[in-house]
């Protein structure tokens, strides 16, 4: 019984053409073999150092969870919910604490480098999954799709978009914590995919926000395969950099994929 996971980002063609770096970032940690924490962030196109912001936000979140995992008080912070799952209130509180730490870290970085915190603007999606339950948060756009045992792919949150196609919330926005969406699902998850909005229009049917299963199924099968190392990396990077994908989206793309192997 263990989690298999991979996180990769690839630059969008529009960023490449403009000489901008990839502003997406995604990573994960696995604790005690059975708890996985993942985070992805999409740096705002208009923010000068949003690539730094996205990476710092993700790393801060993951560091917070490692600290909790290692702290002697972990019994109080995480463990009560470990087997039975966090309540919605507990999850709200946990994610708010962690997001505030990430925001504080961005402010610290901005002060150190002498630029505005808005130069680090990014979205943020975080999830925490055990073999028995799943909790997640989202600020801004991007998506988390998962599949519980014996069921179909499910989009966790409708992306937080403004009325127009180019509006969203960032963790540096004044209303970020208030706009944060949180959900707890007390079902056994088999597959989790967290992604930035670069893949949204190829993976989600936007008219009813239905995940497109022919997009997710091969990714789930891929994680299932007993392949590691270079070959594992190759499949995902080739896909993310493929002409076929780039002809459909010119934005940065991130896939953070997890599969729980119950065997």
């Amino acid at each position: 019984m263990n989690w298999k996971a991979i996180a990769r980002s690839a630059i969008g063609t529009s960023h490449e053409n403009q000489g901008i770096v990839c502003q997406d970032y995604g990573d994960y940690r696995i604790f005690q073999d059975v708890i996985i924490v993942g985070a992805v962030a999409d740096g705002a196109g208009s923010a000068k150092h949003s690539d730094v912001g996205a990476k710092l936000a993700v790393e801060t979140v993951l560091k917070c969870f490692s600290d909790i995992n290692e702290s002697p008080q972990k019994e109080e912070e995480l463990e009560p919910g470990y087997s039975k799952g966090l309540s919605k209130e507990e999850a709200d509180k946990l994610f708010a604490t962690i997001v505030k730490k990430a925001i504080a870290k961005l402010h610290e970085q901005a002060a150190k480098e002498n630029y505005s915190v808005n130069d680090l603007a990014c979205t943020l999606l975080v999830f925490l999954a055990t073999p028995d339950w799943f909790a997640a948060m989202q600020i801004g756009d991007g998506f988390i799709v998962m599949r519980s045992q014996e069921s179909e792919y499910q989009l966790l949150f409708q992306p937080d978009k403004g009325e127009f196609a180019n509006e969203t919330t960032f963790i540096t926005s004044a209303n970020a914590v208030k706009e944060m969406q949180v959900k707890v699902i007390s079902e056994k998850q088999e597959f989790i995919c967290a992604s930035t909005d670069g893949l949204e229009k190829v993976a989600i049917r936007l008219s009813d926000w239905e995940p497109f299963s022919p997009f997710f199924k091969p990714l789930e099968e891929y994680l299932h395969e007993p392949v590691t190392g270079e070959e594992k990396d190759k499949y995902l990077m080739e896909f993310l950099n493929s002409e076929r994908l780039n002809s459909r989206t010119d934005d940065d793309k991130t896939l953070l994929l997890c599969f729980f192997d119950r065997e």
Binding site: A44, G45, S46, F164, F170, A203, R205, F212, F239
Partner: protein, 219 residues
């Protein structure tokens, strides 16, 4: 590895709507209307050079001469046939603005009903005169819509246009522009360049518009 590749769902393109509100009153006759017609053709030609923009930019046209009327429902640029406009009558600008505002809200509803994402719409008004109907309530609605970020309004005055009234209609942050002579072509190429930038805009990006080489901001 015996694993297939992800397949993609077909979603409609994001739309970037623009309504052209065109003065076709009698005073536009002769060279002004001819240049305006040429400008519209140049607009199509220029947007088409950008394959993304030609699928995203949607244009509708409302003329105001003898009456305010819709002469072109929203179409993407590849489907747009530049019209040959003819002049007639007065300048019912107030009615045309009201028409545009209602029409735009309907269009947004259509987008929403079909799961189409859209950018902030532009309403682009061109006139060489002054309204001959009541325009106060239209102007108020327009400024409210602008203040609530529901649209972006641009007014362009040609020749003897009443810039003072255009200024009262326009949002304070975007005063009307006086066209250089009859250089509609340059203006429409600018509109096209602006639409290309908007329609490729990334999330949360404030789009910087190209410099207006075709007119003077009236202050």
């Amino acid at each position: 590895m015996p694993v297939g590749l992800p397949e993609f769902v077909e979603n409609p393109e994001n739309r970037c709507p623009v309504i052209l509100l065109l003065d076709t009153s009698g005073s536009m006759s002769g060279q002004p209307i001819q240049e305006l017609n040429r400008g519209l053709a140049a607009f199509k030609e220029d947007v088409l050079k950008d394959s993304q923009a030609s699928l995203s930019v949607e244009v509708a046209m409302i003329t105001f001469g003898s009456i305010a009327k819709l002469i072109q429902d929203f179409v993407t640029i590849d489907q747009f046939t530049p019209p040959v406009l003819e002049v007639d009558g007065l300048t019912p600008m107030g009615a045309a603005i009201e028409y545009a505002l209602d029409f735009l809200e309907n269009r947004k509803q259509t987008y929403k009903d079909n799961g189409i994402l859209y950018y902030r719409p532009w309403v682009f008004l061109i006139t060489d005169g002054a309204p001959t109907d009541s325009w106060d309530s239209a102007a108020q609605r327009l400024r409210e819509a602008e203040a609530q970020s529901r649209l972006s309004f641009f007014a362009v005055g040609v020749k003897d246009a009443d810039m003072n009234i255009l200024k009262q209609i326009s949002p304070p942050e975007r005063p009307p522009v006086m066209l250089n002579g009859l250089d509609f072509r340059e203006m429409f190429v600018w509109l096209s360049a602006s639409m290309k930038r908007v329609s490729s805009g990334k999330v949360g990006q404030a789009v910087a518009l190209p410099a207006m080489g075709w007119g003077q901001i009236s202050s």
